[in-house]
Structures are given as structure tokens and as C-alpha cells.
């Protein structure tokens, strides 16, 4: 049994728009954090001063109520020139890739930098939206997922439902906040602030269908150039969240970037959850009846 909230953009009738999204190509992220800053400025996201984390160049550490874009920094030790077991042909092709400008290796010192700008995934099957008891979370005509702050009463259910740990409650304010994919800018036919500010086009905004094509071409190019760990994350519909409006090109396993390798929308199991609950309620009733009537002779 599938229980789902059918609130797709089609329900907007003539106002429906093509699905919008982000393709974040982390292979060309330079870690400048312009996206973090632009997002904060445009959306009036409060400052969230952290101390020095000691975790590479990342002091904000994760997405949250006050960080709707987050740039991850990963330092990996790799053999300086030749990867272990690589043939001379492979080494030559790798050198060619570096010259071609598609690698993020910092040459010579044996450290590989991975940088990636994370954001709300705007899932097709969005657990946050499904569990929201007030209807504060809704799907827009662009098929994005947005919190209506005048309705949210801060129950916190979305926080525990999100399989990516994106949405969170703001301490002093009490409501849940996350990326809106710049809903206000989309309504004016403008690019979201983070994508607009990105100097390398690591964050690409557009119609989801077109972004997916672009991403396929890019990942093939990287693989041909020797980046054999390059892969797309959430770029298709057949995963646990039914596809995502924001998807990524990664150069390593998702968990290296703090992303779950196989995220699932918890409400996919709602049928069995309610079924087990009904069985538990019946068992409780039977137990009480047995205790009350069972002692009479």
C-alpha cells in the first residue's frame, strides 16, 4: 500500500512550471563559499557564529536551519604521481586530465582536495513534506519543497524525517527552516542566489530534465579523463526518494561528503507502520479484555 501526499505541480493547473533544480558539479568546486554567503544575504539567514572546528577549512560543518548551502572540505592523502598499480598509460592519461583542467588534485604534495556545496535535495518523495502535520511544508509549482513560515509551529517532525539531515529548527525562533530553492526569485524568473554567485558554474540551475542530460555528459567526460570514481548522486528517479530536484556529481563515495549512500523516504513504509500499529492496538485491546473477563468463572 502506498500512502503519499499528491501535491504535484500538476495540481497548479495552468500555473504549473517545469521542474526546476540544481546540478552541483563538485569536480569544479573551488571551495570559495560564495554560495553560502549569497544564500545568507538573499534569504536573510541569520549569522551562526561557530568557533574554529579544526576540520579542514570547514567551520560550519553541516546544513541546518541557518545554513541552507554548506561547502564541505575533504583532504585525502593520495600517492603524489602514480596511483598504486597504475600503468604508465594510465599515468599518462591522468597527467593529460590534469592539463585539461578537469582534476582537483593539488599536484605534487600527495593531497587530494574534495570540495562540495551541499543543499536541500527537494526530493520527489519528500519525507519532510509527508510527515508535516500542519501543512506548512508544501510543493510549489516548480516541484520544489518549501516551508511556509507563517504556518510552521515548530513540532520538529520534519527534522527527524529528513533522510539527509537537511532541515532543522532554529533555536531562538522555534520554526523549521531550509533551502527554498529561492522560491521568490523563481517566481520572478531569476536564478537562485547560490547558483548566480557560483564563480565556476559548479552550481548549475535550470530545468531538471536538461540538467540531467548535462550531468550525464559531464560524468562520462570525467571518466574518460581517468576520474574513475566520478559518479552521479540522486540523478535518476529509481532511488529511495524517487529522484531529487538537487543532485550531484561526486568524486568519491557519498558518505565521504556526509551524504547517505542509500537514502530512503521513511513514508515508503507507512503501510507496514500503520499495519503494525493497528495490530498493536488490537493486541492491547485483547489483552485488556482477557485480564478483565478472563478471571471470572
Amino acid at each position: 500500500m502506498k500512502l503519499a501526499v499528491e501535491q504535484w505541480s500538476a495540481s497548479y493547473g495552468p500555473e504549473a512550471k517545469p521542474r526546476k533544480g540544481f546540478f552541483t558539479d563538485t569536480s569544479i568546486c573551488i571551495g570559495c563559499k560564495a554560495c553560502e554567503v549569497a544564500c545568507k544575504e538573499w534569504n536573510h539567514v541569520p549569522a551562526d557564529p561557530h568557533g574554529f572546528s579544526g576540520k579542514s577549512y570547514d567551520n560550519s560543518l553541516a546544513l541546518g536551519a541557518d545554513r541552507w548551502r554548506h561547502v564541505a572540505f575533504i583532504e585525502q592523502r593520495v600517492p603524489a604521481d602514480l596511483e598504486e598499480g597504475a600503468s604508465l598509460v594510465q599515468a599518462a592519461s591522468r597527467a593529460g586530465a590534469i592539463d585539461g583542467g578537469v582534476a582537483t588534485h593539488q599536484e605534487g604534495d600527495g593531497v587530494r582536495w574534495l570540495m562540495a556545496s551541499d543543499v536541500c535535495k527537494h526530493c520527489t518523495d519528500a519525507a519532510c513534506l509527508e510527515v508535516c502535520p500542519t501543512g506548512s511544508l508544501f510543493r510549489t509549482e516548480f516541484d520544489t519543497v518549501v516551508v511556509q513560515e507563517d504556518i510552521c509551529n515548530g513540532c520538529g517532525y520534519c527534522v527527524s524525517a529528513c533522510p539527509f539531515g537537511v532541515i532543522d529548527r532554529r533555536e531562538d525562533d522555534g520554526r523549521a527552516w531550509k533551502c527554498t530553492l529561492c522560491y521568490d526569485r523563481l517566481k520572478d524568473d531569476r536564478t537562485p542566489a547560490c547558483a548566480q554567485a557560483c564563480p565556476t558554474q559548479s552550481i548549475q540551475f535550470g530545468d531538471l530534465a536538461e540538467l540531467r542530460d548535462r550531468a550525464q555528459a559531464r560524468v562520462h567526460k570525467l571518466r574518460d579523463a581517468g576520474q574513475d570514481k566520478a559518479r552521479l548522486y540522486l540523478s535518476e528517479d529509481d532511488n529511495g526518494v524517487g529522484g531529487a530536484g538537487a543532485f550531484f556529481l561526486l568524486l568519491d563515495e557519498p558518505e565521504v561528503y556526509g551524504l547517505p549512500p542509500d537514502p530512503v523516504d521513511t513514508t515508503r513504509d507507512l503501510g507496514s507502520i500503520w499495519g503494525a500499529t493497528a495490530a498493536g492496538a488490537l493486541a492491547l485491546g485483547a489483552g485488556i479484555a482477557l485480564a478483565v473477563f478472563g478471571g471470572r468463572r
Binding site: 559518479r231 552521479l232 563515495e253 547517505p260 521513511t266 485488556i288
Partner: protein, 322 residues
């Protein structure tokens, strides 16, 4: 299919076995923002719900005094529920927004309606017991309160299970039985303590049965949890679990022995039974928090799932080529 759908597998024969990878050891999921009010509500709501069912069932069986005491217990418990839930909101003044929708995909929405119906009917039945007024509405309220009590006592399992929190979601088949047993245990304990010993025999029987059910259902849950059992087996969750087991065994034991004659023993046994049920809820709550604090509880089961799927694909492609 996995999210890594760009092509061939990532691990190569020359790669060493994988260390569990994470981003600087940071959690992947957000810690639940629910605070102490929520496990306490799980307990009080369960106590009130099961007491209401016990009260109506006792009424059907003709045990009038037991029924009266159980309605009063249920009413007292249910009045504590809305404040606990409202305090836990980030915006308590907006609590009425809970009733903006009727949403089956949100156990919290369903729970708000269940608590509304259960609270109104149970409070009405309790008022009728105390004052003798509103007798006609109470005729309707008592059966409705009795049935909705069952839902109130168990829907909280769906509330916890319908999250990304690994130790809660993976326990989705067992949690309703754990919470139902705990609800029966606490209701039986409270009603045994509130009723003269001579009239409380059904409640004592319920306490003993519920204790057995609680110990069995938590044991089955842990056995079937697999990897997530670790979240229940360490730290605060583990300490609370053992505390719970001691109380669950001792309370109903006392009720069934000395509690048959001595009211003081019944009060002590009832309090222990309630403490056991409360500790179980807290243990589940803490296990959930532990399972989001450590990214391994998120990543490793997902990796195992992906490996099983890859194995399945591999086998089916092999059998197809034969």
C-alpha cells in the same frame, strides 16, 4: 538501484577493504529536536489511553468501582498530555495549527486528532464519574473513549517509526507492541494503586500479563533489530533498559503477591510498574538519539542494503545468461 548510478562499481580488486567513511565523523542526520516532554508524553498518553480502555471494559464486565477509578486515572493522565506536547513545540502559541489538516501520511497529524477525540471523551467520562452530570453525553463518550484509548496508546509507535532515525524506523514492526504493552503495564499499575485491593483483581492480572508482554516484546525487538540493536545496547539506552527490566519484573510481582491484600504494597507495586514503562520509553528515545549521533548507524545498514541489491542483480543476470 543505488544513487551511484553513473556506471560500474566503485570498488576495484586492488583497493584495500573499506574503512567506514564519514565526513570528519560528523552525524549525517539531524538529532531529534524533541526533548524530555516527548518520552514523558509517550508514557502518560499510553497510561491514559490504556486506562480508558480498561475503564470501559471493566464497566462492561460489571466491575463498577474499578471502572470509576480507571476513568479517573485516565482523565488525570489525559489532561497532562496536551501541555506536554504544546511545551515541546517551537511555537507553542500555534498549537491549533495541528488541526489544520487530516493527514494520513503524518502520524503526528493523526495523533492530534486521536488525542482530541480521546481527550474530550475521556475527560467527559471522568467528569461524569465525579459529578454525576452529563449522563447522556457520557453514555456516548465512554465507548468512544475506550476505543480511542487503544489508538492513543499505540499511535506513538508510528510517530517514532515514521522517521529517518535508524533505531526507530528499523523497529517499526515491534514498537507498537512494545508501546502497547508498556501502556497496559502503566495503566494496570496506576489503576491497581488507585483502587481498593479487593476490587482491583482484573488490574493486577493485566499488570502481570503486560509485564510479560513488555519483557517479551522488547527482547524480540532487539533480536530482530540486527545492526541497530547496538543503539539500544550502549550508554543511556542500555542503562534505562536494565532499569526498566528490573522495575517491570518487580512491580507486577509485588502487585500479584503482597498487593492482593495490602494497599500500601499495591501503591508501591503500581509505582514500580509505571517506572518500568516510563524507563522503556526513555530507552527507546535515547537509542534513537544515539543512532543519529553516530553516522555508522546510518551508513552501514545502507551499504549492506546496496550490497544485497548488487548481489541480487549479479545473480539474476547470471541466471539470465545461462
Amino acid at each position: 538501484m543505488s544513487p551511484n548510478n553513473a556506471g560500474p562499481g566503485v570498488a576495484t580488486a586492488t583497493e584495500p577493504p573499506r574503512e567506514p567513511a564519514s565526513y570528519h565523523g560528523q552525524p549525517i542526520l539531524k538529532a531529534p529536536v524533541w526533548s524530555k516532554e516527548v518520552p514523558n508524553y509517550l508514557f502518560v498518553g499510553g497510561l491514559a489511553g490504556a486506562s480508558a480502555t480498561l475503564a470501559y471494559t471493566a464497566e462492561l464486565s460489571g466491575a463498577e468501582e474499578l471502572s470509576r477509578r480507571a476513568w479517573l486515572t485516565a482523565s488525570a493522565g489525559i489532561m497532562a498530555c496536551p501541555p506536554l506536547l504544546i511545551i515541546d513545540l517551537g511555537r507553542p502559541e500555534r498549537f491549533l495549527n495541528m488541526l489544520r489538516m487530516f493527514k494520513v501520511t503524518s502520524p503526528m497529524s493523526m495523533g492530534s486528532w486521536i488525542l482530541s477525540v480521546s481527550g474530550a471523551t475521556t475527560a467527559l467520562a471522568g467528569f461524569n464519574v465525579v459529578s454525576g452530570r452529563l449522563a447522556v453525553p457520557a453514555l456516548v463518550a465512554r465507548p468512544v473513549g475506550g476505543v480511542f484509548g487503544l489508538l492513543l496508546a499505540t499511535y506513538t509507535a508510528a510517530l517514532f517509526a515514521d522517521t529517518a532515525v535508524p533505531a526507530w524506523h528499523e523497529a517499526r514492526h515491534e514498537l507498537p507492541f512494545v508501546f502497547g504493552a508498556g501502556a497496559a503495564l502503566s495503566a494496570a499499575g496506576a489503576v491497581s494503586a488507585a483502587t481498593p485491593a479487593r476490587q482491583a483483581a482484573p488490574a493486577r492480572r493485566l499488570a502481570v500479563g503486560a509485564a510479560v508482554a513488555e519483557l517479551a516484546s522488547t527482547a524480540i525487538m532487539e533480536r530482530r533489530l540486527g545492526f541497530q540493536a547496538g543503539a539500544y545496547g550502549h550508554g543511556r539506552a542500555r542503562a534505562l533498559k536494565w532499569m526498566s527490566r528490573a522495575c517491570v519484573a518487580a512491580g507486577p510481582g509485588l502487585l500479584a503477591t503482597a498487593g492482593v491484600r495490602s494497599r500500601a504494597a499495591a501503591v508501591a507495586g503500581g509505582a514500580l510498574a509505571c517506572a518500568g514503562a516510563l524507563a522503556t520509553r526513555w530507552s527507546v528515545f535515547e537509542a534513537g538519539r544515539a543512532s543519529v549521533a553516530d553516522p555508522r548507524y546510518v551508513v552501514e545498514p545502507q551499504r549492506a542494503r546496496m550490497a544485497a541489491r548488487a548481489e541480487h542483480r549479479h545473480q539474476s543476470s547470471r541466471s539470465a545468461s545461462v
